[in-house]
């Protein structure tokens, strides 16, 4: 008899005629009930959500408008350099307070009735509070202190800013765990400079992208460019590891471990291993070795809304913003280090052709998410089957695994629930 564990996510019993592996009902990707529940229990629940890079709000008065799930928030830099995150919704009658994507202001002010807030969200004043010529005005017991913007807890780790609606969730580095914290610190090892944004609208559920970024199995099979030019192959030295809670994943590989003879034997006539494809201008792939550990690809998937990546010399955060059960926005913010020289600037700019919505090794992910969404939309009882690597939420010292996807679903089940919400 096979080794089994009776849980619907992870290995399951052969006695129930279920194959070993993880099965997820497709309604998690299509039903509004899941979407509403995850906004409340996950994005506004006990999770730390990425909201900004500190370098996006370097100066006092700088702000950036963004979203946690679909809740609008503003990140501000205060006069004392501290960071605040508040819900971008006036305490009066709900208007959007910050309407620009970013800017610099002495304080926040709602245009509707000019309610003004400090950068930390405290209400400063209300026009006509005492009325005009003794008429009108707010009730006598109106207390400014009771009517500020909703404030979130904020923590920064080496330039990445996170916020949470939860008073209970553990401090950020405990939430991330030592492995993930270490590898965030590896990439965010010194001051950065912002190189620009790219925004991508994907007609699919955000969790399909959470799966995609915890999936080393697909990367050399879907992305021909990755495989053909050896940027990533499942034959490379690499691992797919998780934190203790299995919420987050850390996937890395080393292009230095490519072996042309072995790799062509493993991939044989695979579509994505095309030895006849060469570049007219190979300068696209000319980079610099940046990290002494030889790791050339890192995908850190931080639960629930962030991917921090290093692919060759490209560095970027990808923030997931949900738009509904069947669509999300992916905001790519590319960066370099503040001390990059002119040649490194040029390398990063050219290699940015690899990533983003038009990226040679990333554009396919948009299509992969959509072809799943299109096929699962009407069949609510059907389920996926996830078992590569053994069928459990297990770390792997190789790249032929889906263990981290199962880890994601275990956490989602605990936080949002799965089977009980399938209608």
């Amino acid at each position: 008899m096979l080794n089994v564990q009776d849980t619907a996510v992870g290995k399951v019993s052969t006695d129930t005629e279920e194959p070993i592996g993880c099965r997820i009902p497709y309604s998690v990707f299509t039903d509004d009930a899941f979407y509403k529940a995850e906004q409340e229990h996950l994005f506004r629940g006990p999770t730390w959500n990425f909201v900004a890079l500190e370098a996006e709000v370097p100066n006092p008065g700088d702000f950036k408008s963004t979203f946690i799930g679909d809740t609008p928030v503003v990140v501000t830099r205060d006069k004392d350099q501290s960071l605040h995150v508040v819900v971008n919704r006036c305490a009066h009658r709900g208007a959007t307070v910050c309407r620009a994507r970013q800017g610099n202001v002495p304080h926040l002010e709602c245009v509707y009735h000019q309610w003004a807030y400090e950068l930390n969200g405290d209400l400063m004043g209300v026009p006509f509070r005492r009325g005009i010529k003794g008429k009108g005005g707010m009730p006598a017991d109106f207390d400014l202190k009771q009517h500020g913007l909703v404030k979130l807890r904020v923590e920064a780790l080496n330039g990445l800013v996170f916020a949470t609606f939860s008073q209970e969730v553990e401090p950020l580095t405990d939430y991330l765990g030592p492995l993930i914290t270490k590898h965030v610190e590896r990439i965010m090892c010194r001051p950065i400079k912002i190189l620009g944004n790219q925004r991508q609208f994907i007609h699919g559920n955000w969790k399909l992208y959470a799966e995609n970024t915890r999936d080393p199995y697909h990367a050399s099979l879907l992305h021909l460019f990755h495989n053909t030019f050896g940027l990533y192959r499942s034959t490379q030295t690499g691992e797919c590891l998780m934190d203790e809670s299995k919420r987050h994943s850390f996937l890395y590989s080393k292009a230095g471990s490519n072996d042309a003879a072995r790799d062509s034997e493993v991939y044989q006539d695979s579509r994505s291993f095309d030895t006849s494809f060469s570049l007219q201008d190979p300068s696209l792939l000319a980079g610099r070795s940046e990290f002494p550990d030889g790791i050339t690809l890192v995908i850190l998937a931080l639960y629930p809304n962030l991917i921090l990546q290093q692919i060759s010399n490209t560095l970027a955060v990808r923030q997931i913003v949900t738009h509904g059960p069947d669509s999300f926005e992916l905001v790519w913010t590319q960066f370099g280090y503040a001390d990059d020289d002119a040649e490194m600037d040029a390398i990063r700019l050219k290699q940015s052709n690899l990533i983003g919505p038009a990226g040679m090794i990333s554009m396919e992910d948009g299509e992969a998410v959509e072809i799943v969404q299109q096929a699962v939309s009407s069949d609510r009882k059907a389920r996926s089957y996830i078992a590569m690597g053994g069928g459990g939420a297990d770390d792997a010292d190789h790249l032929v695994t889906e263990g981290a996807i199962i880890g994601f679903w275990q956490n989602y089940r605990e936080m949002v629930g799965i089977e009980e919400r399938v209608s």
Partner: protein, 162 residues
């Protein structure tokens, strides 16, 4: 040839022709001929207005040689996976911004409609071309072409040049 000595109407006609041909080659899927509209040592970029306005360098597509244009097309044909689609460019009247002895700088608004196999067309990318056009080997060619786009929420992905 000193371009600044030529009549403006003639320059405008050449600019208009080149930009129209650029659109037509892309829309008609004659992509292999598209790099030939550029000089060898060219610059082509498709960049979000958001970055352009803030002076940030990241472009969605960035090529600094004709070889890179060819590689984009070969990659589209052989490597990339994307929804089946067509483009339809709608091009505004061009305005000649500057004439130098060796180059014309022209500004042109564009709209790219996309149609996938659902049969519906939608505005995929709206923006402005900033073109630097030179006379080289007997032809007017792009030395630099920037498509600075307003539609910075790219629908699904971008594989085809703008």
């Amino acid at each position: 040839m000193d371009l600044s000595t030529l009549p403006r109407t003639e320059l405008l006609r050449e600019v208009t022709d080149l930009i129209a041909l650029h659109a037509e080659l892309i829309d008609d899927d004659q992509l292999e001929a598209w790099p030939d509209l550029f000089v060898e040592d060219c610059h082509y970029s498709v960049l979000p207005r958001e970055n352009a306005d803030r002076g940030l360098p990241v472009a969605t597509i960035f090529c600094d040689s004709r070889g890179m244009l060819v590689d984009r097309i070969v990659s589209l044909r052989r490597a990339n996976i994307f929804p089946v689609h067509h483009y339809r460019h709608i091009i505004s009247t061009s305005r000649i911004h500057e004439v130098r002895s060796d180059a014309i700088v022209a500004h042109t608004n564009y709209l790219v409609l996309q149609t996938r196999n659902t049969g519906r067309s939608f505005v995929y990318n709206a923006g402005k071309y900033v073109d630097e056009i030179v006379f080289s080997s007997g032809k007017f060619l792009f030395r630099s072409k920037k498509a600075i786009f307003d539609t910075d929420l790219i629908d699904t992905l971008m594989v085809r040049p703008i």
